[in-house]
Every structure is written in C-alpha cells, then in structure tokens.
C-alpha cells in the first residue's frame, strides 16, 4: 500500500539553523500520528514540509504518492487541512467567523469563481460538527483561544481534507478548552477518516487513540513507533534532557518533569 505521506532524507534550514536534518518518515492513510519533543526540535517544520510551507534544502516529500514541488503545491494543499500555532489576529479585523471558515473552501472553489450551494453546505456541516454555530456572526478577533482554535479546525475541515495537520492545538488553552479540542480531534479523525498529524507540547494531552508517536530532538526523529512504547520514562527523559515521571491513570498518562536534584 502506498504511503499517503512519504518523507525521504529531508533537510530544512532557516538561515543558519538546521530545522530538520536528514529526516525520513512514512505514514499510511488513516493514521493518527502525534509529534512531540522539546522546543526547537523541528516539530512544526516537519508539519510544514508536508504542505509545502517549509522549503527543502534536500530530500523528497511525496504526498498522495506525488512529489511535492512549487508547480503542484497549490493543488495538493487543497486536500491538506492545516491549523497553525496560535495566530495573532487584530481584534478589529473586518472578517466574521463564518467568513474564516469559508476561506477553507477558497482553494477548492478556484480563482474567478463564487461559492456555490455545495460549498455553503460543506461550511454549514463543519460548523455544526465542530459546534461553533453560536459564533457564526462574531468578528474573528472577538473570540477566546479555545473558540478561535475550533474556528481554525472548522476552516481546515471545510477543505474536506484527506490529511489534517494540527500544530499544538491545545497550547495556551484552559483545561476545559483543552478537553474539548482533544475530543474534537479524535471525533473528526475517525468520523472523516483522515490521516492526522498533531504536534503536542504536553504529552498529557495526547489524543487517547493515538496509535503512533514521533519524538524529535535536535532536528531529528529520535523515536517513532507505538505511543505506548514512546511513553516510557527512559525514552522521554533522554528526549527532554531531564528526568521524567509518568503517572498512569484510567484516562491516560500524566507526564511530569522532575528536578535534576
């Protein structure tokens, strides 16, 4: 079976900093992949090479079996939903929540064309599925962090993507919003049969049914395999360069960094 995402020996560099160094990764359709690691490990860059926002210094990225290049990237992106890390939005931005969700359709609609009834239906469906109908006419700059995150997920889902890239979707959210976003990720992943990549800063927030985990450090993948195997005190202590304690509960694991002393 061909891989839906196939990354081969990819190196990415931003000025003098190497963000990814000779990284390879193959992912099959339908997988829910969590990516974790310390700050600056290259997690976001790994996501962005999949949708072509990250520029390769060397190596090859294939998505849907097609090699990503500048000529075909806009076409490929139409089937790749992307929710970047927290975006700074001007509170007075003259765009409503519904319009932001509709932006997700714009690539598929194409230039010089208007949204048709099907586009509007798709947007209405994702608005209901994400549960943001009550926010529809609010200006985008007037939302809380959790609400904004849901709107961005709705916008990415409006693309009707086959691949969903989520960059720290629970960052800076309160406990209730974190829970709500995590449940939403799992729901849409299974319901829409997506291949989902989710960068998680806090391992305690890993989606419950996340089958595969990638741990990164110093621009390299240092572990990839089953999540259960990745959640080991030894592996995590080595990745994060500090002693880590795992507390297993019925609802998952709680990961705590211990002081070196």
């Amino acid at each position: 079976m061909p891989y839906i995402v196939d990354i081969r020996n990819v190196t990415v560099s931003y000025r003098e900093n190497v963000a990814l160094h000779n990284v390879s990764l193959s992912v099959e359709e339908g997988e829910l992949v969590a990516i974790a690691g310390p700050n600056g490990a290259g997690k976001t860059t790994l996501l962005t090479v999949i949708n072509g926002l990250g520029k390769l210094l060397s190596g090859v990225v294939k998505v849907f079996g097609i090699e990503v290049n500048q000529r075909n990237i806009n076409q490929l992106r139409k089937a790749i939903g992307y929710v970047p890390q927290k975006l700074n939005i001007d509170p007075r931005m003259p765009i409503t929540v519904r319009e932001v969700v509709m932006i997700g359709r714009y690539g598929k609609i194409g230039l010089l064309r208007k949204a048709n009834d099907n586009d509007k239906k798709v947007v209405d469906d994702v608005i209901d599925s994400v549960g943001i109908r009550h926010l529809l006419h609010r200006p985008i700059g007037h939302l809380s962090g959790g609400e904004l995150q849901k709107v961005h997920m709705a916008r990415a889902l409006a693309q009707e993507p086959k691949i969903l890239l989520l960059d720290e979707p629970t960052a800076n959210l309160d406990l209730s919003a974190q829970k709500s976003i995590l449940e939403l990720i799992e729901k849409i992943h299974w319901q829409k049969q997506l291949t989902t990549f989710v960068v998680m800063h806090e391992l305690t927030h890993l989606p419950q049914n996340c089958g595969r985990m990638i741990l990164m450090k110093n621009a390299k993948i240092v572990f990839q395999g089953e999540t259960q195997k990745a959640l080991s005190e030894n592996i995590l202590s080595e990745v994060y360069d500090c002693p880590v304690k795992l507390l297993k509960t019925d609802n998952g694991v709680i990961v705590r960094a211990l002081t070196n002393a």
């Binding site: 790749i80 001007d90 007075r92 003259p94 714009y106």
Partner: protein
Amino acid sequence: MLEILHYKFMQYAILASILGGVSCSIIGVFVVTMEIPFLGVTMAHAAFAGGIFGLLLGINPLISAFMLCLLSSLLIGPIADKAEFNPDTSIGIIFSIMMGVAFLGLAMIPGPKTEALSLIWGSILTISKIDIILMTIVCSITILLVVLFFKEIQAVIFHREVAASVGIPERWIYYGLLFLSGAIVTTNLNTVGGLLIFSLLINPAAAAYQLTYNLRTMFILSGCFGVLSCFLGLFFSYIFNVPSGAVIIITSSVIFALTLLLSPKRKVKKVGQINESNG
C-alpha cells in the same frame, strides 16, 4: 457659485477627485488591514524620484514615475519574503533608497525646481485630459480586480500563511496588490501630490475600519470617504482659495476623527448591560 462647474478645469478636478478618492481609498483597505501604512509614502517617494529623473532625461515625468513606482512595488514583496523581513522593513529599505535617489536627482536639476516640486504637492486644478483617462483606467482596473479576486484578497488580508495553506496563490495576490498600490499612487501624483497621497491612502480606509466588521462594507465605506474627502477638499479649497491637496488631506483627517468618535468598536458595555446579559 455654480458657474465654476462650467469650466473644463473644474470638471476635470471633480472627475479626478472621484477617481482618485475611489482608487486610493480602495487600495488603502489593503494597506490598513495588512498594517503596511508606509507603503503609500514609499510609493510616493518612488514616483517622485522617477518624476525627477524623467525631467532630467527629458521624458514624460509621469511615465518615469510610473516605471520606478512599479519597480519598487515589485521589489518590496520579494525582498520581505526572501530575507524573511517584516514587510515594513522591506518598505523602509525601498523608501530610503528612493528618497536618496530623489534628492540626488533634485540636486542635479539646474535652476529653479518648480516642475519637480509640483510632483510633491500636486494640483488637482491643473490636471489634463490624459491624466483623467489614465486615472479612469487605473480606477476601473482596481475596482474590477477587487471584485474578481475578493475572496482571495480577503484570505490574504486575514492571514497570508492560512491563505497559502488552503491552496490560494497567495504570493501572486499579495504582490499584485503591492503592484496595484504603485500604479494608483503614480496616477494620483497630480491630484494631491506625492507626499500627501499617503494620507489619502490611509485616512479613508482607517475611518472605514472604525465602523465595520465586514470587509465588503469596509471597501465601500472607504471608497465613499475617499470621494467625500476629495470632493469637500476641492470645494473648500475653491471657497477659501487655499491649496487643494492640503485641504483634501485635512478633510480626510476630520472624517477619520469623526468616525473614531462614533466607532461602535470603541463602545464598552455598561455595568447594567453586563448584569442584564449575565441574567
């Protein structure tokens, strides 16, 4: 009073005020929402530098101003993207280059520099039929492009990275808008002048920004404020016999001040309303 409207120069001035007001204030929406206010002043300096070199080389200053302005607009986007600068830094670099080139050219012009300086101040009362034709073309193209590519422009204004990630040719749209800004500034040099055009780009759009959360409405309001600024400015300039460019800018600033006072975006809920909404 109305007999002044029979004069050709006044008819041209009114037409120019409508065309200039609409085109500057429409592109101003992009400038204000993308937070690149110095784009206008940079384009104005590029046009000024181009105009001066046109005078030096004996070619039509409007054509040379147009060329340098468009060249600058083509450089700003790629410089910012390639060097990973904030666009304002890239605009600042082009601005300083154009200012240097303009002053160099100014020093090289022998004798009185009246013609060159008129590019800075402009005069809506002395524009020609050719200017009107050019302004009509640029204004029509601006409106047409905004209507045809509204959804792409909306996505780019919202967030460039998000626009790119959904498969929109975001760079073409962004660079195209910068290019259009250059064309608009150049064609409006003769109305309010190279320096004052900065205000006509910013004030009507900033005024519209105070009043609405809808981008379409913002474009329409901005266009109306632009025309109103030029029209009233022209009227007061005639009544009080003062330079038209300066009065146009003062009028646009007064409109901005009024919208700031009346802005629903500045309203804060009163305690009673908060208690009511909390049940």
